[in-house]
């Protein structure tokens, strides 16, 4: 069960390809597979670099800083989860904006949401018998 105060979430099914992404938050790190031949961050994970076709991929941490590409304030109770309304956004990581994450934007008044705003990662910890998961959510990055 999730710890007190953490909303219900449908969690990802962990496997060897995605575990680094979903559990990096245990060390406070946002992690992606990165091509060791050309430096391209590969996301979602796949067994080959789509840029140079190298299979030499390794997990690396990024800064956790991102930019808001677009968002929506969701009012519809699709499923149990965060208190309504909540914000779903797509963010681009600063290291490689072509790496996009769908996520929730938190700790931000809805009328201050703005495409292009700087964000930083915060992790939401979910205990689970199949392995703990740390969901990367994003909040305004007041330092930038």
């Amino acid at each position: 069960m999730a710890e007190t105060g953490v909303p219900f979430r449908v969690l990802p099914r962990l496997d060897d390809r995605n575990r680094a992404f979903w559990t990096g938050g245990a060390q406070g790190e946002l992690r992606f597979w990165r091509c060791q031949a050309c430096g391209y961050y590969v996301h979602p994970p796949q067994p080959i670099c789509p840029e140079c076709l190298s299979k030499d991929l390794a997990v690396e941490a990024v800064s956790g800083r991102a930019t808001l590409a677009t968002y929506t304030v969701n009012h519809q109770p699709w499923m149990p989860g965060p208190e309504l309304p909540y914000v779903v956004g797509i963010v681009e990581i600063v290291e490689q904006p072509s790496v996009r994450l769908m996520t929730n934007i938190v700790n931000c008044p809805h009328d201050e949401l703005e495409i292009g705003m700087p964000l930083r990662v915060v992790f939401e910890h979910h205990e689970d018998p199949d392995g703990d998961v740390y969901l990367p959510l994003f909040e305004p990055d007041g330092d930038r």
């Binding site: 979430r9 990802p12 519809q76 769908m102």
Partner: protein
Amino acid sequence: MTRDPNEIIERRACISGVGQSDVGRRLGRDPLELTLDACLAAIEHAGLTRADIDGVSTYPGPTGPPPGFSGAGAYQVIDALRLDCNWYDSGLETSGQLGSVIKACLAVAAGLANHVVCFRSVWEGSAQGDKGRAAVMPGGGEGGAFKASGYMEWFLPFSAPSAAVWIAMYAQAHFARYGTTKEQLGWVALNARRNAQLNPKAIYRDPMTMDDYLSSRVISTPFSLYDCDAPCDGATAVVVSRVDRARDLRNPPLRVEAVGTALHDRTSWDQPRDLTQMANRDAGKMLWTRTDLKPSDVQLAELYDGFSFITLSWLESLGFCGLGESGPFVEGGHRIARDGELPLNTNGGQLSGGRLHGYGFLHEAAVQMWGQAGDRQVAGPPEVAVVAAGGGNTCGCLLLTRDR
């Protein structure tokens, strides 16, 4: 067009008949029965019998969840009607719902079949019952045991299970870049409702004002209730025939002048390189490379409206206006009215007509081009129509012309 017209093999195909089952919010009927009703109606409408049908095509075929998304697969229809097929196909990974029709065009053009019955069947209204969308969303009712995988792995953990949320974000990006407004989205919905009042099968037929639209409950900004299509039960079928086998049938052949099937982008709904556009950009552009006709030749447009924004996006993708200009294009609703320069979604689309999922647009284009649209018939009848379906990563379109 520099290409040899003989290479545009979809022109060997035509639409020869269309049919539709009863359509309703919650019919509570066997979805296979609805599917067979539609198929048999289309076969009869074409002036054929089931003995003439030698091909079957459908989208998406048998699927897992969500319930109601697929009312029947190809095998079920082939068996129920004891069809002798020389070619059959179904599948989800194709150029939108109409990808199944386009595949049928290619099959008849290649000589694999002469008359292919194509269908799309849904029972999402009954599947949802009185519990709404939440009843058919993955995982929500199963506690923590359900785990997300596949492409939904990246969406479900953030409580974003619906295309309403994903497409709302495209709309928001379009608003931010081009100044598109909520009222402009509203004209797509109001136009659909105006037309649905003349469609006896439409789900929503009461008059709707801009105030009604703007005051409806918010779903996911900028979308409110009437920006989202209406789940329903119903099946739609079309017969795709080889033109040389269709000349003496009941209806003048609706030739497939050109198709658009392209996808030049990432396949996940959160990864397109430009979040104001979808795969319809590629499909629409491709269509015009396969014909000498121009957007200005089109007399009728039936453009997918699973969400209001998708219709705006198709208007841009098909070149009826420039990028970012679709909001002003529909504003006021005159240009897109039944008596306007580009009649649009003349049966009420999916927003008011019901979420028949792509095929409803093709059915409507056909009956309009044959002058069989009853009270909502547009002038002409139209000789050139464009039909487009899908959004996100799954988009396809056809340009139809009527033989005189």
